[in-house]
């Protein structure tokens, strides 16, 4: 079990629509800011947000959805999966486990599609389904 940090779904207009801290968040990374525990969350957001630049560049260069690890900050790595609608599934993690991450992304993508199929869900709005949340966390435990 890796100490995976943070999973986030970003809509095409760069709005985070789902956030989850999966795995045990890495404490020592927090030392980049003042060493406070809760700063980890915002550091993760910063790293993932910054990685959007690179996603933008890479997304058009490949037809694959899984972009692998595209960015890193110290020893945190950002892996990204871009859906056809340019919704970005981003995972911040610290261990290399490409296969697991790929499967994780694919399954989350399926879950996301199910969310999209819900006629009451407005694409691009926040995903509040608790069912989705539990499923994602279960997948994270399974693959990461």
């Amino acid at each position: 079990m890796a100490t995976t940090a943070c999973f986030i779904i970003v809509s095409r207009n760069e709005i985070p629509i789902y956030e989850a801290e999966v795995g045990s968040a890495v404490k020592r990374q927090a030392s980049v800011f003042e060493d406070k525990r809760e700063d980890a969350a915002q550091l993760h957001q910063f790293i993932l947000h910054a990685a959007l630049d690179i996603v933008q560049d890479l997304a058009w260069t490949t037809s694959a959805m899984f972009l692998k690890a595209i960015d890193r900050f110290n020893d945190l790595v950002v892996s990204v999966y871009v859906t056809a609608g340019h919704t970005r599934l981003m995972l911040l993690h610290d261990s290399r486990n490409d296969d697991g991450i790929k499967s994780f992304f694919q399954e989350v993508h399926e879950l996301y599609i199910k969310i999209l199929l819900n006629p009451l869900y407005l694409p691009g709005s926040r995903i509040t389904s608790s069912h989705f949340d539990t499923k994602v966390r279960a997948l994270a435990r399974k693959y990461l």
Binding site: P16, F33, Q42, F46, I47, H49, A50
Partner: protein, 1291 residues
């Protein structure tokens, strides 16, 4: 491709990697120079940069080339050593600090738009002090022993003409113990080129002595190496230099001092000539010579195949012995140092090819020797050389990367070299527009030292910004990283500067943590600098941080409030995010002609009220026309649509505040913001006055918007509320505004004070999108803004009312006597009162004389005389509408009391709506009438479940057996049943058994069920609808049964209110037609007082339309002997039966009696007309099977299979119907007929004579087309019920 030399890096290299000249001087020389405010090196340095020389150079190759630009670096001998780390750090800090101060002026302003930033050119974006900083950083590693380009090429010895014995001074100057360690420890050749300079200060006298010394020098040191320099030729010190070359040396301490003021133009030129000669005639040729010499040596020892093999072998052998981290110590005489020197000299003379070949040569050696620092240095130079040659970018980058990582590998000592290498690398990348890569290199330069890394990160962020396309996310992130590091080194101004830029990147972001972090920190820092206004503006952004943890929320709020307190003023914030205002919860309650007794009444939908009031208020059209008539006089058209409220009566606004945080927040002084302007329509017509009036209005407005409630001019009063919101709590706050004068009232918004320090304002008008005004929509055409605008009219009487002691919870059937109390506080009277109740089943209005009556005694049965008088009322249906007597007015303090009867009719939650209409006593008002609306919610619990089952008495006509089942459904109460009454005069009811016998305990406890039986007799024998009116005159029958043993008085069910409620109950039923075949029951029960406090309660349970007919209008009775004796030996037995038929319907019925034997086993149609006498039947007796098929219209032709199945084959049927198989009878309405039947019995036994059927047909139904009858069956078939006959063999 641009010439590498013109790029920033090229310029930097041409600046930095140049020959160093060591300057040795006597104190007197320095003294002379300081007269100009300059040191000797400072005086000379501006002239060491030659941009326009033309010197032919020939290095290793035979082909000469020309140098056009050249530069010398002059240093005192004391400066030629590795700079102290601490000192350089201090200097860097100073540079940064100064820059921070300089840039700070603009920090108070708003951050720039990110779009504007992107378009700007590089020079606009990058702060200029980065250059200075980077230079300082590079200088911090100069004069290291592993690089030859910082080693002095020549030595300039300077002696003043004032010095005693100048010649010996020259010798003394080059004294080894003063010389830098580089020369002493063998890192470089101590035998360097020397040049002798004699300085003559013209102020000290003529130059004669100086020339004498010069000639002496020339004879001693050689004629070419000696020079004389005359300075300070100007005596008055007034020389002004245009483009003063020493400008850069201006110190901040004495900015007024004019540098070089004693140097006139001759001195100027002399210095210039001196330096030019020094470089072109001495240094360059010396270097050329040295290069050639070294090249020869290198070629001899290292070039060629043989030397290479030898070298390789030799080095391999050496490898084992030398394993120190820095590799072997190389003296200047070692071949490695010489190669390095050769390379550096060639680089300085711009023979890059030569330099590169030598660097390559030496780098492998160093690598093999594991002299990593030297290796890295050579790699670095290789990279730079590749760059200057402008070839093979890959190679260049590879070299730089290699050098950088090697420097890092050797630990802390290489850190600064790595920084320098990185900076060069970055410049190289940026020259080639590889900003993204440059940024990563900057990121890698970041060291432990936070200040360095802060600057590096900031530069990295700018690289991201400058890259194409701009990478704004990265830009923002690195700015934030850099800002945090600045903060760590207390460079708050820099921190703010970076965060300010970051704010512009993250503006409007939905990444909540990012937004909070940036705004919170920048807010804190601004507060730290005392710029509280800006700080508060930023802190406001983070207040609604519901996603953060509780501690963070506390921290944010605490810091925010601290900052606000420090500002020592009250902020009025238009968009305060705490608490969240739920604008969709906004509801305005106001009273025009509709007034409300309670908030509960006001929350009922208007449509419910208007439907309720439909028939009591004057009709809409006339009301409207009157309305318009009056309005048109008073109000201009634009206010026709606005709402009306009355002066002195509060307008209530409900608004919901929600606390998004997990910590409680306190709000105080929550008030509405209102404007009340006196009506200005009249004045508008008069143009002359309008301006004055308008001014007044403006004044008034300004005073009211300030919310100054205490001032006398205020024409309305506002309520104030204090709220404490717990975590996540939402509270609905009711605020009121009470206008005092007529005019136009506008509700603008709401204001509140957060934690006693910050005032939040919320403007309703700005968010009108989803506003829902509960009351007073005047149709779709009214705009939402008008909903908050009220026309205030003069004060009117307003009725206040309530019902005393109305229960909130009651058991079903509970009957109570209530009192309605109405008050009118104003002095004007109101009249023409009407009241209407939404649920007359629950509430009915009593008569005035009932007010004082004692309950429930007033319900008890009176004497016969009284009763007959009361009967007249009972037939009247009560109406939901009740008109008060004309003469009743309500005025002043005397309340009007009126009795009401309440009965909890059905279980459930009931919302009772009561509206009271009244008219004003004075008719001058705009509003002529008003309504008071009351609403009471109550919960009715089930109490007794009463069910009646009526079945006709088989033995007697028109007598019925009533079975009453009572179940106590309450959870705690026990009831006493008191009385059962059958409503109507034709019914007589009596107990089958004494009640004491069946129910001795008298109380029905929780969950207990009780069944008892009654006999119900219909006495109205020939009562037709025609005779109904006369029924009153008939003698009264015992329609009530006392179920109590005691002789309590019975209640009179035919008087108000029981009769009224019963009527209501009846009207709930399906058919309102008085069907004589139905009966209504009223059960009256008690809930005895359990404690002394509450009264015993009376309950009435009504059951309506209990049908006495189970199947058809035809009832019949078979009459005959039950037991007979017969001698079957003689003959079969013939028995006569009599069937009595009764038609209880209103029409003529034709009845046909069909008798049939069980004959259908043959499959033959058992048409009732055929008698199947021949079919034998077994000796079974008493079979019957009758299905309840009453609702199906069965004609006689349909085979009755049920009947035919039962007989077994071969059995003899024990009896047959004899006589006619079908008899038709015509029955007049409500009449009785008799027919005779006969059976023959063949053997003794007990027989069930149920195998006959009655087909009845109501005649004349279709002819009359009676609608009520149409719903009923017009014909049907009844099957016989068991009649047991026992036939015995007689003796």
């Amino acid at each position: 491709m641009v010439d590498p030399a013109t790029t920033p890096l090229g310029k930097m290299l041409l600046d930095e990697i140049t020959p160093v000249v060591m300057v040795l001087r006597t104190p007197l020389v320095e003294e002379s120079c300081l007269k100009n405010g300059l040191s000797l090196v400072q005086t000379l340095s501006p002239f060491c940069n030659f941009t326009n020389i033309d010197v032919p150079v020939r290095t290793a190759s035979d082909q000469p080339y020309r140098l056009h630009k050249f530069k010398l670096r002059l240093f005192y001998e004391s400066d030629i050593r590795q700079p102290n780390l601490e000192v350089s750090k201090e200097r860097l800090k100073q540079v940064i600090g100064q820059a921070g101060e300089k840039d700070f002026s603009e920090l108070g302003s708003d951050p720039p738009q990110i779009n504007n930033v992107v378009g700007r050119s590089e020079s606009e974006i990058l702060p200029s002090w980065f250059q200075i900083f980077n230079k300082e950083l590079i200088h911090s590693v100069s004069f290291s022993d592993h690089e030859a380009f910082d080693h002095p090429v020549a030595c300039l010895l300077v002696v003043s003409s004032k010095d005693e014995q100048p010649i010996s001074k020259f010798v003394d100057l080059f004294n080894t113990n003063k010389l830098p360690s580089l020369l002493n420890d063998g890192a470089m050749d101590p035998k360097i080129m020397k040049h002798y300079l004699l300085v003559h200060d013209s102020q000290d006298g003529s130059s004669e002595k100086a020339t004498k010394v010069l000639s002496e020098m020339r004879s001693t040191f050689g004629p070419n190496d000696c020079h004389l320099l005359c300075i300070n030729s100007s005596h008055d010190g007034e020389i002004e230099h245009q483009d003063n070359p020493w400008d850069s040396y201006k110190s901040d301490a004495s900015p007024s001092q004019r540098l070089g003021c004693f140097l006139n133009i001759d001195d100027f030129n002399e210095i210039k000539d001196l330096m030019q000669e020094l470089s072109s005639k001495h240094i360059i040729p010396y270097m050329e010579q040295k290069i050639r010499l070294l090249n020869q040596q290198v070629s001899a020892t290292r070039k060629g195949f043989r030397n290479q093999i030898k070298n390789l072998w030799w080095r391999k052998g050496k490898e084992d012995t030398l394993d120190s981290s820095n590799g072997p110590m190389y003296t200047f005489s070692s071949i490695e140092s010489q190669i390095r020197m050769l390379g550096d000299y060639a680089f300085m003379l711009r023979d890059y090819e030569l330099a590169l070949s030598n660097y390559r040569l030496i780098s492998t050696d160093y690598k093999l020797d594991k002299a990593w620092k030297r290796y890295a240095g050579v790699q670095e130079m290789m990279g730079l050389t590749y760059f200057m040659l402008d070839q093979s970018r890959k190679e260049a980058e590879y070299c730089m990367e290699n050098a950088f990582s090697t420097y890092l590998k050797i630990g802390s000592s290489g850190q600064q070299n790595a920084t320098r290498c990185g900076l060069w690398w970055v410049e190289m990348l940026r020259t080639r527009d590889q900003n993204k890569e440059a940024a990563t290199v900057y990121f890698r330069i970041c060291s432990e030292e936070p200040l360095h890394s802060a600057v590096m990160l900031e530069q990295a962020s700018y690289c991201y910004l400058l890259s194409k396309p701009p990478m704004l996310h990265k830009y923002g992130f690195h700015l934030v990283l850099s800002g945090d590091r600045y903060k760590k080194c207390d460079q708050i101004k820099h921190a703010i500067r970076t965060y300010r830029s970051a704010v512009s990147v993250y503006k409007g972001t939905t990444w909540s943590h990012i937004k909070d972090h940036v705004h919170f920190h920048i807010g804190q820092w601004y507060a730290f600098l005392g710029m509280y206004d800006v700080a508060v503006a930023h802190m406001l952004e983070v207040l609604a941080c519901s996603h953060q943890s509780k501690t963070t929320q506390e921290l944010y709020l605490r810091d925010f409030l601290q900052i606000v307190q420090k500002t020592a003023k009250t902020f009025e914030v238009l968009k305060l995010q705490l608490p969240v205002i739920n604008i969709s919860s906004l509801k305005v309650f106001f009273e025009d002609h509709r007034t409300y007794a309670s908030a509960a009444a006001a929350s009922v939908r208007e449509s419910l009220w208007s439907s309720l009031e439909e028939d009591i208020i004057p009709s809409l059209s006339t009301g409207r026309s009157n309305w318009l008539e009056l309005q048109s006089k008073l109000i201009s058209k634009q206010y026709k649509e606005s709402n009306i409220c009355v002066a002195g009566e509060p307008v209530k606004v409900n608004i919901e505040f929600k606390n998004p945080l997990q910590i409680p927040i306190s709000l105080s002084s929550v008030t509405l913001i209102c404007e009340l302007s006196p009506r200005s329509d009249e004045t508008n017509m008069d143009a002359g006055n309008s301006t004055i009036e308008l001014q007044k209005e403006e004044e008034l407005k300004s005073s009211t918007t300030m919310g100054d409630m205490s001032s006398e001019v205020s024409s309305f009063t506002l309520s104030e509320a204090d709220v404490l919101l717990e975590s996540g709590e939402a509270i609905l706050v009711q605020l009121t505004v009470t206008p005092k004068v007529e005019g136009i009232l506008k509700i603008v918004g709401v204001r509140w004070k957060l934690s006693g320090s910050v005032v939040g304002l919320y403007n309703f008008e700005t968010n009108v999108v989803k506003k829902r005004i509960a009351k007073g929509r005047r149709g779709a055409k009214s705009s939402p803004s008008n909903d908050l605008k009220f026309l205030v009219i003069e004060s009117l009487p307003k009725l206040e009312g309530f019902i005393r002691h109305i229960p909130e919870r009651a058991y079903a059937g509970d009957l109570q006597h209530l009192i309605l109390e109405l008050r009118n506080p104003s002095e004007f009277s109101v009249k023409n009162l009407k009241i209407k109740v939404s649920h007359p089943r629950f509430l009915c209005v009593g008569k005035q004389d009932e007010l004082m009556k004692e309950f429930p005694a007033c319900l008890e049965k009176k004497t016969v005389a009284e009763q007959s008088g009361a009967l007249g009322n009972s037939s009247k249906r009560p109406h939901a509408l009740f008109l008060f007597p004309e003469d009743i007015t309500v005025q002043g303090n005397a309340p009007l009391l009126w009795p009401l009867w309440f009965r909890a009719a059905v279980p459930g939650n009931i919302s009772l709506l009561i509206t009271i209409y009244y008219e004003m006593g004075n008719m001058s008002s705009v509003i002529k009438y008003r309504t008071l609306r009351m609403r009471y919610n109550m919960q009715v619990l089930p109490s007794l479940n009463v069910a009646y089952q009526i079945s006709p008495c088989p033995s007697r006509l028109r007598q019925f057996l009533v079975r009453m089942d009572i179940l106590n459904q309450t959870s705690s109460e026990s009831f006493q049943v008191h009385q059962l009454s059958a409503v109507g005069h034709q019914w007589e009811i009596s107990l089958l058994q004494p009640f004491d016998v069946i129910f001795p305990s008298k109380s029905l406890f929780t969950g207990q069920a009780l069944s008892c039986f009654f006999i119900l007799k219909n006495q109205g024998k020939s009562l037709t609808s025609k005779d109904k009116s006369s029924s009153l005159s008939l003698p009264l029958l015992e329609s009530d049964v006392n179920l109590q043993a005691s002789n309590d008085r019975l209640f009179d069910i035919s008087s108000s209110p029981l009769a009224d409620f019963h009527c209501c109950e009846r009207s709930q039923g399906v058919s309102s037609q008085d069907d004589p075949n139905t009966v209504d029951f009223i059960l009256i029960s008690w809930l005895p007082k359990t404690d002394g406090v509450s009264d015993s309660r009376l309950f009435s349970h009504h059951a309506c339309y209990c049908s006495i007919l189970s199947t058809s209008p035809i009832t019949w009775l078979i009459d005959g002997p039950r037991t007979t004796h017969h001698n079957f030996n003689a003959s079969f037995c013939q028995i006569n039966l009599r069937m009595t038929l009764h038609n209880s319907s209103d029409t003529v019925a034709s009845v046909r009696v069909n008798t049939f034997d069980s004959s259908s086993s043959s499959g033959q149609s058992s048409g009732a007309t055929t008698t199947q006498a021949s079919v034998p039947s077994g000796n079974q007796s008493g079979w019957h099977e009758v299905r309840a098929l009453t609702e199906i219209k069965v004609t006689s032709s349909i085979p009755r299979n049920e009947v035919g199945k039962s007989p077994s084959l071969g059995s003899v049927f024990p009896y047959i119907w004899s006589g006619s198989s079908a008899t038709s009878v015509r029955l007049e309405p409500k009449s009785t007929a008799e027919i005779l039947l006969e059976i023959c019995v063949f053997s003794p036994g007990t027989y069930d004579l149920s195998n006959y059927s009655l087909n009845w047909n109501l005649l004349g139904v279709n002819d009359q087309g009676n609608e009520e009858e149409g719903t009923k069956q017009s014909s049907g078939t009844c099957y016989g019920y068991p009649y047991f006959l026992t036939v015995l063999e007689s003796a």
